[in-house]
């Protein structure tokens, strides 16, 4: 009897240790990310608002019942034409108040990844709301695909909510400025971890999107935002492809070398893709995560005063060649159009 009890105790302890391990291996802030099932249970609560961050035409085709739209994708709707946040926060206060988001409102944001690539619109809205001090923001993991995969119904009638009052309480350290980053690049400021969320090609300077391409000095790691999504097999190509969902094990592995207690700044070309990294850092419990809003678009456009490693100047000759090719194609197209017009029944009738 005694032996049996000891055996049972050992087995139960062994199993419980696994349960403990699996419990520990989860997000530090899980409430920031909702599954479709969790979202379903929240629908109908008056203090919960769903924000559809896709293009209006996609919202019109079908959206999660009760979701609101601001008429365009969030990365455009919530920033200026140069993809930077509005420095005048009263503009956000007016907009969010009008669409029915108050300071007590839980906001669930969703997009779509595979067809419209609007998961990053979701994370732009998430970062902006957190920057404005809103502490009840959630992202639907997998976007509308997660909702569809569960077999839940959609609606095609727009929702207009009553106005509420939104007052911004800006959390300045969630915003990294170019001035701050220059100090990091020159070594004036130490102890800041920098995550480059651009692709490997951009990191190497092979994919040029500004006057100067290359590496940001003192970058801690380069993790392309797309790599952090879960991967599934693409039915057309048979290759593994990012699917718009994120999971703890995959994401945590990318940032395991970083210190969660240090200030950690993420950037990309326009500070858009890097907002996914920002969300992931927040989920993992990084104490001082920030997004560099101006990112490489501003940094790489300065011709010689900001330090860059492995600097590659933009090849304008390549652009000139592409322009010549385009003009030739346009000319050919025009000739074909003229030939086609000559063959039309109307032209034949005139003859």
């Amino acid at each position: 009897m005694g032996k049996k009890l000891v055996m049972m105790f050992v087995i139960v302890t062994f199993l419980m240790s696994f349960a403990g391990l699996s419990y520990a291996a989860t997000w530090a802030n899980p409430e920031l990310l909702l599954s479709a099932k969790e979202l379903k249970s929240k629908i109908g609560n008056s203090d919960w608002v769903l924000l559809d961050c896709r293009k209006l035409k996609d919202y019109a085709k079908g959206h999660i019942p009760g979701a609101i739209s601001v008429g365009k994708q969030c990365k455009k709707a919530l920033r200026d034409k140069t993809s930077r946040v509005w420095r005048d926060t009263s503009k956000y206060e007016k907009l969010f108040s009008k669409i029915g988001i108050g300071n007590d409102t839980h906001v669930v944001i969703y997009g779509e990844h595979i067809k419209s690539d609007t998961m990053k619109d979701t994370t732009v809205a998430f970062w902006i709301l957190e920057y404005l001090g809103h502490d009840k923001v959630h992202v639907l993991n997998g976007g509308i695909d997660a909702w569809i995969n569960e077999g839940y119904s959609q609606d095609n009638k727009p929702t207009i909510l009553g106005a509420k009052t939104f007052k911004a309480n800006v959390v300045q350290n969630r915003y990294a400025s170019t001035d701050e980053m220059i100090d990091v690049a020159t070594g004036k400021t130490k102890g800041i971890q920098v995550i480059d969320a651009r692709t490997g090609k951009e990191f190497k300077g092979a994919d040029q999107r500004s006057l100067r391409a290359g590496r940001f000095p003192n970058t801690t790691i380069n993790v392309s935002h797309k790599d952090t999504f879960d991967q599934t097999k693409d039915l057309e190509t048979g290759k593994m492809k990012d699917n718009g969902f994120i999971s703890y094990d995959r994401v945590a592995d990318f940032y395991k070398s970083l210190d969660k207690n240090k200030r950690t700044v993420t950037f990309c070309q326009t500070g858009t893709r890097s907002t996914l990294t920002y969300l992931e850092l927040r989920l993992l419990g990084f104490k001082d995560a920030a997004n560099w809003d101006e990112s490489w678009r501003v940094y790489g456009s300065h011709y010689n005063d900001y330090p860059i490693e492995n600097v590659q100047w933009f090849d304008f000759n390549r652009v000139r060649k592409a322009e010549k090719k385009l003009k030739k194609t346009e000319k050919k197209l025009k000739e074909l159009e003229e030939k086609l017009a000559a063959l039309s029944p109307e032209a034949e009738g005139k003859k």
């Binding site: 209006l56 035409k57 019109a60 085709k61 079908g62 601001v70 008429g71 365009k72 455009k76 709707a77 200026d80 034409k81 007016k94 907009l95 009008k98 669409i99 695909d145 909702w147 569809i148 995969n149 569960e150 077999g151 839940y152 119904s153 959609q154 609606d155 095609n156 009638k157 727009p158 207009i160 599934t232 097999k233 039915l235």
Partner: protein, 71 residues
């Protein structure tokens, strides 16, 4: 009903289920997921797409006073 027929029906149902399960498992297609662009989701007919985007909603969007796109 004939016992043989009953057994046959049960066998057909089980075979069909296993076939569907294996197909879904190997292709990754889950129930409720449609590749067709014109099939938005359950409960939404293609002919109803955008039916609710009425004048009131257009006015509402205008009142949000967002910057126009260059595109």
């Amino acid at each position: 009903m004939d016992r043989g027929l009953m057994i046959l029906m049960v066998l057909i149902i089980i075979t069909a289920f296993v076939f569907g399960f294996i197909n879904s498992y190997s292709t990754g297609i889950q129930p409720g997921y449609f590749e067709k662009a014109e099939a938005p989701a359950y409960g939404v007919g293609g002919d109803l797409i955008g039916a609710g985007m009425d004048d009131e909603f257009q006015e509402y969007l205008k009142a949000l006073d967002l910057e126009e796109d260059d595109e």
